[in-house]
């Protein structure tokens, strides 16, 4: 049993995975979505951003299985003749990128602050925790709106990467707090354990103790939180884009697509909104379910 | 008639690779008013035995075989409700950590009165009187005032006294005490042991005292059962088991305990460790570590055999066969 994948599958966590149909299904869906998003260029039949391939005459076609649809546009087209399927695939990619990067940023900042607060204690701990309290008293969407607004004011004609940067920063600003708190709690526990004291007796520097001894032991809950938070981040981004303050209109995410389709919902062209919405739900749901399973699987008491 | 009879008790933990037997064919009796000690090292199964008797086995652990009889009635197969009535009225429990044994949100008076009235048909005032008298019997000074206090207002030793009072509140016939003094300071240990012994004798309650401390057993118990790897290795009167142990494990254990009254260069050590539940050796579970093991030990598992004053699960004491050793 030397293959690491085979070994993992045989471990307690792997076994829990194999015996949970929900987890396996969620993983399959999440994997499929990620695959589509990464290989968007190959998966999608058209390039929705290439203006030259758009034909206005094909605008607002219903999906392929209804009377006026065509197999060229499997899920129909939007008001500019863009293929919905392709738009959804590319949109998913944008949503996933924004979601994942902002979570990574949150984790980095949150874990760092949590480690510092837990390890040093004293005024640094008090200060950081007050900062957390203040951050938590603001509704996340409002904070993100505020940041996005400030960003637009500061960089009015920002190039796309800057706009993305501001968006990612806005989302991660609201997410880091829970990591900081969790890691601080775990750090406080680990700090008083004898293996840390043994390292101190040996003369290891506090930095090395923090990074090499304590950090590996506090990452468990962080992993679970991060998985669940990817779903939240994606939805936050979708909300912001829906409200018009998210991604720039040139690279629409699922939220923007939903917003675009919203205007046509009541005139009967439901597919422009529903398909992006379904994709969003699928991604968020599968990621959340995976996170739930992971939390139960890693909980030693339930094993 | 015995108060408690445990017959061939088997406790299993289902695991994805098959069930693990944590208790394998455990049998012993407790007479009314007797103090039986159950001693063993960690993993031997002594706490599990207590939990099985009280009916508090944590799932997925379950009783997979054997019987537990209290006053002649089977209690191992009772439902939740029926077991709840037994617990408290017939069997009282004392656990190791006094901090978590008491509900921190209620005064001890309320907890005592509630316990008494749940099991005995007594009015509020009478129950309160009894509670105060119980607290006085367990040596809590100023019981009439302290009955209104919360658990956190008591020190560790005092809390354990309250726990003992609570266990005795409904006048049970059997008390199961799982490491009642391990978390206490040495000087308090002595007080609590003395209290437990006296108060149970006074009320005619039998005690099943589970502990790893042979000294406590020696001073408190009438009989003792030595457990190893989920089985009973030896059972008999305390004096005999300690001074003339029949089972090599008991003998090894006694010799490994440092003695405060004399100097020794080396402590006798038993090499190796207690086998894990999924790797119990064939035959006698102790045979790989036993200095006196012979062929039969690795093949056939011994039942409890009479060996003078004690009973022991060891082939050394079987009727001589072709390969018997003295």
């Amino acid at each position: 049993m030397n293959n690491p994948i085979a070994r993992w599958l045989d471990s307690d966590v792997g076994h829990s995975f194999r015996s949970s149909p929900v987890a396996m299904l969620a993983a399959a869906i999440a994997f499929a979505c990620i695959f589509c998003a990464v290989f968007a260029g190959w998966v999608s039949p058209h390039d929705p951003f290439d203006l030259s391939t758009l034909e206005l005459s094909d605008a607002r076609l219903p999906p392929a299985w209804s009377a006026e649809g065509s197999t060229k546009y499997l899920l129909g087209t939007d008001d500019q003749g863009r293929d919905i399927l392709s738009a959804v695939v590319y949109g998913a990619r944008i949503s996933l990128i924004v979601g994942l990067v902002s979570v990574l940023l949150s984790v980095f900042v949150g874990v760092l602050f949590g480690l510092l607060a837990g390890f040093w204690g004293g005024w640094l701990d008090a200060f950081l925790m007050r900062v957390c309290d203040v951050m938590l008293s603001f509704p996340p969407i409002l904070v993100a709106l505020l940041m996005a607004g400030i960003g637009r004011a500061l960089f009015p004609n920002a190039p796309t990467p800057v706009a993305f940067g501001v968006l990612i920063f806005a989302i991660s600003l609201t997410g880091w707090v829970q990591y900081a708190r969790t890691v601080r709690g775990s750090t406080l526990v680990e700090r008083s354990k004898e293996y840390v004291q043994a390292a101190r007796v040996t003369g290891v520097s506090p930095w090395r103790i923090m990074v090499r001894h304590v950090l590996p032991n506090v990452m468990g809950p962080v992993l679970v939180l991060a998985t669940i938070q990817v779903g939240t981040a994606i939805i936050t981004e979708a909300t912001l884009s829906f409200l018009g303050v998210g991604v720039p209109p040139t690279s629409p995410s699922l939220g923007s697509l939903i917003q675009i389709g919203n205007q046509y919902l009541f005139s009967g062209e439901w597919w422009i909104t529903v398909f992006p919405g379904t994709m969003l739900v699928l991604i968020a749901l599968s990621v959340n379910l995976l996170g739930d399973w992971l939390r139960d699987a890693l909980n030693p008491r339930l094993r | 008639m015995s108060l408690l009879q445990v017959k061939n008790l088997v406790v299993e933990f289902p695991h994805r690779r098959g069930a693990l037997r944590a208790l394998d064919d455990v049998s012993f009796d407790i007479a009314p008013g007797e103090i039986l000690g159950v001693v063993g090292e960690s993993g031997a199964g002594k706490s599990l035995t207590g939990a099985a008797i009280i009916g508090l086995l944590e799932p997925p652990g379950r009783i997979a075989g054997g019987e537990i009889l209290l006053e002649g009635q089977r209690i191992d197969q009772l439902g939740h409700e029926a077991m709840r009535h037994i617990r408290g009225r017939k069997i009282g429990a004392i656990f190791q950590d006094p901090l978590t044994s008491l509900n921190p949100l209620y005064t001890i008076g309320r907890q005592l009165v509630e316990t008494i009235r749940t099991h005995l048909p007594i009015g509020e005032a009478e129950a309160r009187r009894r509670a105060i008298s119980l607290l006085q019997d367990t040596g809590i000074p100023g019981a009439e005032q302290r009955i209104e206090h919360y658990p956190h207002q008591f020190s560790g030793g005092m809390r354990q006294r309250v726990v003992i009072a609570l266990a005795l509140a409904a006048e049970p016939k059997l008390i199961v005490a799982d490491e009642p003094t391990t978390a206490l300071d040495v000087s308090i240990q002595a007080q609590i042991i003395e209290l437990l012994k006296n108060i149970c004798r006074q009320r005619g309650a039998a005690v099943m005292l589970i502990t790893h401390d042979m000294g406590v057993i020696a001073e408190t118990c009438d009989r003792v059962a030595v457990m190893y790897a989920g089985r009973v290795a030896e059972i008999g009167p305390v004096r005999e088991v300690i001074h003339q142990p029949a089972h090599p494990y008991t003998a090894g254990l006694m010799a490994a305990i440092p003695d405060m009254s004399m100097d020794r260069e080396r402590l006798n050590q038993i090499d190796g460790a207690m086998p894990r539940l999924n790797a119990i050796p064939r035959g006698c579970a102790y045979n790989p570590r036993c200095p006196r093991a012979f062929e039969r030990c690795g093949i056939e598992r011994p039942d409890l055999i009479d060996a003078g004053a004690t009973r022991t699960a060891c082939w050394l004491h079987a009727a001589p066969t072709l390969e018997g050793a003295s």
Binding site: - | E41, S42, E219, H243, L253, Q269
Partner: protein
């Protein structure tokens, strides 16, 4: 000079006051916990001093003071002639840390669960630059594992794959990596089963003989102390009440607390012993009794005991802090 370790009037207080806001709003005073309140002793090279006492007596704090995990509020310690705590603060302190090591009580918390045994034992070697990662380090770790009775192949495993007794042996191997002269052992066998305890104690005694180690052995178990110690110090609420040779202490204990402690231990020899244990419990260390802190529980207490703290005096080869003993009332 044959004394490797000398502690002089060692004291450590902890500030356990309520938070500043609570103090201001509720007018609560500052609270000082005197964990160790003036402890002096010396340990000869190659011998073992055991410190015994119940909870709150400060023995664990003394252990941590001696290895530099805490700095003393008062007093100090000399190691091989030099002031240890001054040295700990300097770069020289690193050299000192090679010579003093510690073994902890909890075998489950004293090894990092995410590190393999090789890294755990090798850390002191790498930290002090004695050996770098590689085959030499591996070899040395293997030797250390053998010296505590474990298989060198075990170095690739994780701590959770070992039993409590084996983990404690790994801790001992780690402590011995830098070839220290002085080992502070904080209740090293309290969490172990009796038969495993015997194995670990035997190993510790063997290693002491082979390598000429000096031990400070902390324990609450007098029987274990009898087995390992040369000298025994009894502590109560942060103070030393008696300090004597092992034989003298066990055969003729002088201080009332020592006598009470020895009497309170349940012994296997005394089947069915009846005795009247001393009443009372260890008081709260934050608010200790005045004068001699043992006076509320002491059968020999008088007015002087309530008012005046007894000093540790040498009486007939034994050091005792008790007015009654000094006055010949015992």
């Amino acid at each position: 000079m044959n004394e490797l370790v000398q502690a002089h009037d060692l004291a450590k207080s902890f500030d356990v006051s309520p938070p500043w806001l609570n103090r201001v709003l509720e007018r609560r005073p500052r609270l000082l916990l005197r964990a160790v309140d003036g402890v002096s002793f010396s340990i000869e090279r190659g011998s073992t001093l055991a410190l015994v006492g119940e909870s709150g007596c400060g023995k664990s704090t003394v252990a941590r003071l001696l290895v530099g995990l805490y700095t003393p509020t008062r007093g100090g310690m000399r190691f091989d002639g030099q002031d240890a705590h001054a040295a700990f603060k300097t770069a020289e302190g690193r050299q000192l840390r090679r010579r003093i090591q510690m073994i902890f009580q909890d075998p489950y918390a004293s090894l990092n669960p995410r590190w393999i045994v090789e890294d755990i034992i090798g850390e002191p070697l790498r930290e002090h630059g004695i050996l770098k990662q590689g085959s030499e380090l591996e070899q040395r770790v293997g030797e250390l594992l053998k010296s505590v009775g474990l298989n060198p192949l075990d170095m690739a495993k994780y701590p959770h794959q070992f039993s409590g007794g084996q983990r404690q042996r790994i801790s001992i191997a780690r402590a011995l990596a830098t070839q220290p002269e002085f080992l502070v052992c904080d209740e090293p066998t309290s969490a172990l089963d009796v038969s495993v305890q015997a194995q670990v104690l035997n190993i510790m005694k063997d290693l002491q003989r082979e390598q000429g180690l000096t031990y400070l052995f902390i324990s609450h178990n007098l029987a274990v102390v009898r087995h390992v110690a040369d000298q025994v110090g009894v502590m109560y609420l942060g103070r030393l009440v008696e300090l004597a040779d092992k034989k003298a202490l066990f055969e003729d204990p002088r201080h009332p607390y020592t006598r009470m402690l020895i009497d309170a231990i349940p012994q296997m020899k005394h089947v069915g012993r009846r005795r009247t244990p001393v009443q009372g419990e260890v008081p709260n260390p934050i608010d200790p009794p005045s004068g001699c802190t043992f006076h509320p529980r002491c059968p020999l207490a008088n007015a002087r005991c309530k008012a005046e703290r007894p000093a540790l005096l040498s009486l007939r080869g034994v050091q005792v802090a008790c007015h009654a003993v000094e006055e010949g009332r015992d």
